[in-house]
Amino acid sequence: MLATSWEPIDDLTWELTLREGVTFHNGAPFNAEAVKFSIERPHHPDFETGDKIIDVPISHVDIIDDYTVHIVTHEPVPILPQRLSRNGAFILEPGHYSELSQQESSRMPVGTGPFKLVEWVRDQRIVMERNEDYWGPMPNFDRLVYRVIPEPATMLAEVLTGGVDIAPVSPSNAEDVRAAEGVDLIVGDSLVRAVLIVNVNLHEAFNDPRVLQAMQWAIDTQALIDAFALGEAEQAVTMVNPPNHNPNLEPYGYDPDKARELLAEAGYPDGFTVELDVLHPDAFDWAEAAAFYLTEVGINISQVNMLSRPVWLPRNVEGTLNLHAHHWSAGENTPETDMWATHPDRPSNSTNWFNQEWYDLYAELVRTVDQDRRTEINHRMQEILHAEGGPWLTQFRVPLFRAISDRVAHYYPHPSFLVEDFAQIRLVE
């Protein structure tokens, strides 16, 4: 971490103390100047792409001394540290990045990490070399090569023949990896959720919480986890990941009779018919199984549609998807970024779900710095989601399966899926 401490000094100001003695790959020093440059950069009007990946209302950054900065925001941002540690919130070397256009610099990154870019052959490989000036513990190998292998069967062959040392594998290949010699299977936790999402505008029945509850009781989520995640996941209650989840809530169990009762109570004793869209290729298998469970209690899934990204993106924004299965995570692990998923103001919220109390609480949560009050609001919001039954159903965090060669130690996949900590890896002699 490039900051050694981070404290709010008032509602709109955070004080960061920076690590000393760090240099960029090009030899320039890491200091307050670089932090100011990087954080303010996307907020300049002439910033080319306009992409503000750190979604924070930044006002400006004050340099107190070489290793202390004050980050000033327009509104209170209690989760600023999490926002600043996500993928994309990188500290850039001001000289390098102000000389080159955004297009050029995106191909020649200069950072402070344990490896520096040597070669990038598109669609083939990225070659990185150890940064001898790295401030942290050093990896014991010189080069790190990323290879692009589009076909999963080929990837597996490469792991088995020693062509690559670390590779993602699908659950269906996990047994082969376990059985193979010289290769181990490791399973990591992730922030990515497998989720069945209800678009409440799709059918009038979805406006009745009893129908959403019935859907929760109808699906044997534990069976889905056992079959499609090899039992390596836990059922989640709401979209808020640990440690921010409300520990007092229990997930809905599997009780098809209760589901039928609730449907009858809501006025649908004979059920109804909808379609199911699948947005992520890895979600297809469990979504088909979930469709079977729903059909069993009378919610007849007439069709399961595998949609490609170009097809579902516009429909997601329009809010016209059917019931849909997806794998999703926020870039940060905070209650507000997790729950932003079903917030009415989010452009890509596909649920059309609304609850006034929940909406007001969200507005309070994002401005509240006090931890106890934040927990109180966060837990209450999750209670509402849980009581309503939706609009997110049947959730579990998707485990990350990796095949690693016996000569690699201390590798663990990062739960965000978006970054990797390569400095921790050691080669075994």
Partner: protein, 310 residues
């Protein structure tokens, strides 16, 4: 000469149609703006990017700009890579040609002798073996053959690297090429073998062959001088066009062997809706086919004097 002029004119019409179709195809699915910036952008950002990409202009204007660009070899910038499309495509095309040309040569070297021998020994064991091989070669799916080869030569025997395009020396580079070239070649090899056999068999029953035999020419001379030479006419056409499909249609082989070629690049670009790349690739494939067809036509006129007169 008028024959060639007519061919050129047809080629031009095909290219115009191909470019137009590739432009239209791109507007059928999805929204390129969302593909570029994701679904969480504000309306303001969406509008600005739409304008930057020139997608706010009337379709007819976009079409005119696109066609004018095509004439100049300019297909615009790739959405994904922010680089000129033509350069990206040409580098991938080079990687595909490295596989396609040896694959075609291999197919030719095998199919001509096997096809001729098979026809000469019709319904004998050697013909049966050749036909079985050709049938299996044509029926076996590429990805299956590829994976089976990897299983045998990379995992069990450890003779060859499983995938990728690598190696420092020529020998090492060739090792990476063996399995993809063979896999890619198989279908064409089988197809050309069947074709050669069929053509030879058909010609062997023709009057001029009987006449040649009656004149007392040796069977060998009849076969090579009269039969095979005539059989080459359709063979040249088909194998020339096969080169086109070997270059542009090798997506499966390139995916299985992680070969960074044209087919895989096109596949990725379609999946990610990189419109300029897809449009450029389709047009380029059309150009390639028109050029190949033209070359085949020219060779044809050289082989068959009758065409030169008409």
């Amino acid at each position: 000469m008028s024959y060639i002029a007519q061919r050129l004119y047809h080629g031009f019409i095909v290219l115009f149609a191909a470019a137009s179709i590739s432009f239209v195809l791109m507007f059928i699915i999805g929204d390129p703006v969302l593909m570029r910036i994701g679904d969480d952008a504000t309306q303001e950002t969406i509008d600005r990017v739409r304008q930057q990409m020139g997608l706010d202009r009337p379709l007819i204007v976009q079409y005119g700009q696109f066609m004018w660009g095509v004439v100049q070899g300019d297909f615009g910038l790739s959405y994904r890579h922010q680089e000129p499309v033509l350069g990206l495509l040409i580098s991938r095309l080079g990687n595909s040609i490295i596989l396609a040309v040896p694959a075609l040569l291999l197919a030719i070297c095998v199919s001509i002798p096997v096809g001729v021998i098979s026809a000469m020994h019709r319904n004998r064991p050697i013909d049966f073996i050749a036909r079985t091989f050709a049938l299996v070669g044509q029926a076996a799916p590429n990805f299956w053959v590829g994976i089976m080869l990897i299983l045998l030569f990379a995992i069990h025997l450890r003779w060859l690297p499983a995938s990728g395009m690598g190696g420092e020396t020529l020998g090492e580079k060739l090792k990476y090429m063996i399995m993809p070239v063979f896999t890619l070649s198989l279908l064409t090899m089988a197809y050309l073998t069947r074709m050669m056999r069929g053509a030879v068999l058909e010609l062997m029953g023709q009057d001029f062959v009987r006449t040649a035999r009656a004149k007392g020419l040796s069977p060998r001379r009849v076969m090579y001088r009269h039969v095979v030479r005539n059989a080459m006419l359709p063979y040249v056409t088909i194998s020339g066009l096969q080169l086109g499909s070997l270059i542009s249609g090798s997506m499966v082989v390139e995916s299985v062997f992680s070969w960074p070629g044209f087919g895989r690049f096109l596949l990725d670009s379609i999946r990610l809706m990189d419109i300029p790349v897809v449009a450029g690739a389709l047009t380029l494939v059309a150009v390639m086919y028109v050029v190949l067809a033209f070359i085949v036509d020219v060779i044809y006129t050289l082989l068959d004097p009758r065409l030169r007169r008409s």
